[in-house]
Amino acid sequence: MYAMWKKGFMSGYRDAVEITDGVKSFATTAQTIICREDDGFTRRVRTGRWKGKQIIREWKDTIKGKVVFWMKLGEFQKWDNKKSGRGIIRYHPNSLTRLHGLTEVYTHKFRGRPGKCITKYSWGKWMHQEFWYKLRGGRRRRAYSVHHTDKSFRFFWPDGKVAGQVECPGGFRIQNSDEGRPFMNRLQSEYNEDNRADMFDLSRDGNAAFAIFDRLGRVLHRGTYHDRQRVGEWILNRRSVYFVRGVSISKKIWDTPPEKLNVKKIIRMRNVQVRAALLARIPPEKMFKSCRGKIIHEIKSSGMRLIELPVAVDDGNGGNKSKMRILRVRDTSTNAFYYLRVPDFVWDGGKKTKLNKCEQARQWTFGVNDPKKKIKFAKET
């Protein structure tokens, strides 16, 4: 392939640009081009001066004699090679980065069947995608057609039977790496790798539901995401699996009514995700009553709570003089509560100092042993 650079496009252009499959990327300043070549783990950065067309020769030299991309701004361009198939693509006349107009890639496969994938972009934003199976005798059949504002869509087998359906109440979101490829393949490839169907990425807000059927119309996989986490009863490879906040739990626990769950046992569990998932099933009032818990401190705005339970804990000196304390914290990304065990006191300069505030206990979890010190975060997600 050959690179064709429009004169002057470099000026004022400063962001990194991903160009091919997320493997090679370019970044420019007014005077310098930087090429990142990613071979899996290592990343090499090379620079070259902008000298009109001479830069093309420099690129040829720097990338082992191969020019990595063919580009002409504002015009439709075609390519035809064994690896990426035949295609047509258009970049926006005033922007190197943004796909604009129609992109077709002919030789992609959807659910193992070849066909034509048509994607439409506007100012780099994904607008619409449809896939057409290529059938015998030159016939074709539509596998799916989805617009970015759609809430749901169905996709079909080549014989016209329904193969599955996806619902994203907040609309669909397609990332850059899916340029020109059937975005549904991401879902399928994840099945092939580890039998997981983490497709919440397809939705804008992390809420999605999907079902995939076999040739006979039976449910093969089915599940729901809430805030990017699996919830409820799922079917994976025709087997039922139960999830609470992304954590798989046994059918026995799923069927156990919340009032019969043992809070003390749950709090002693090693994994915080499992702990949070199980405690989430128990109403807070019931949780306090069942283990006679006491709220030591509470910050209502953040939902943080420091709770003391009448359970003796070894304080490290051989005696069970400490009481179990739990810090309830809210995850800012998922809004879910997590429960962390914290000490009731720390040794501060040979003196026993109680941790009676939520923030003091939270800082302890960050590794701060001195209750007067504090780690401040510029960003917490």
């Binding site: 990194a16 783990f41 992304g246 798989s248 915080v272 995700q273 990304s333 302890w364 975060f377 960003k379």
Partner: protein, 114 residues
């Protein structure tokens, strides 16, 4: 280069090195002994399999502190996780630690596992 900030993504703490906050270069004394983590994975969810991953940055095991990692963040360094919003880390050298919780007994504390 201004003062670097601390960041948190779930149980992952991205902290500036207290002893020399203004320095952003990788200390020479670590270069020989710090073992690189080529995958760029800081931590992996035990049950969900979701990973805290670094792109555009190099990750090392801390040669002096057990269980602590060093992040050498390059231009456009991002820490990602499917359930959390990404964190853009400025160019510099950071220590990566994992939140802890109380266990009692001799061990006293352990890293949080999700």
């Amino acid at each position: 280069m201004g003062r670097l900030n601390n960041y948190r993504q779930g149980e992952i703490l991205i902290l500036t090195r207290d002893e020399d906050r203004q320095k952003i270069e990788f200390p020479d004394k670590w270069k020989k002994h710090a073992k690189r983590i080529p995958s760029g994975v800081i931590a992996e969810g035990e049950i969900s399999g979701h990973k805290h991953e670094v792109t555009n940055g190099r990750l090392y095991d801390h040669p002096e502190k057990k269980g602590v990692m060093i992040l050498e963040a390059g231009e456009g360094c991002v820490v990602t996780h499917p359930e959390h919003k990404p964190i853009n880390v400025p160019k510099g050298v950071f220590e990566i630690n994992i939140q802890r919780e109380f266990t009692g007994g001799k061990e006293q504390s352990r890293k949080v596992k999700d």
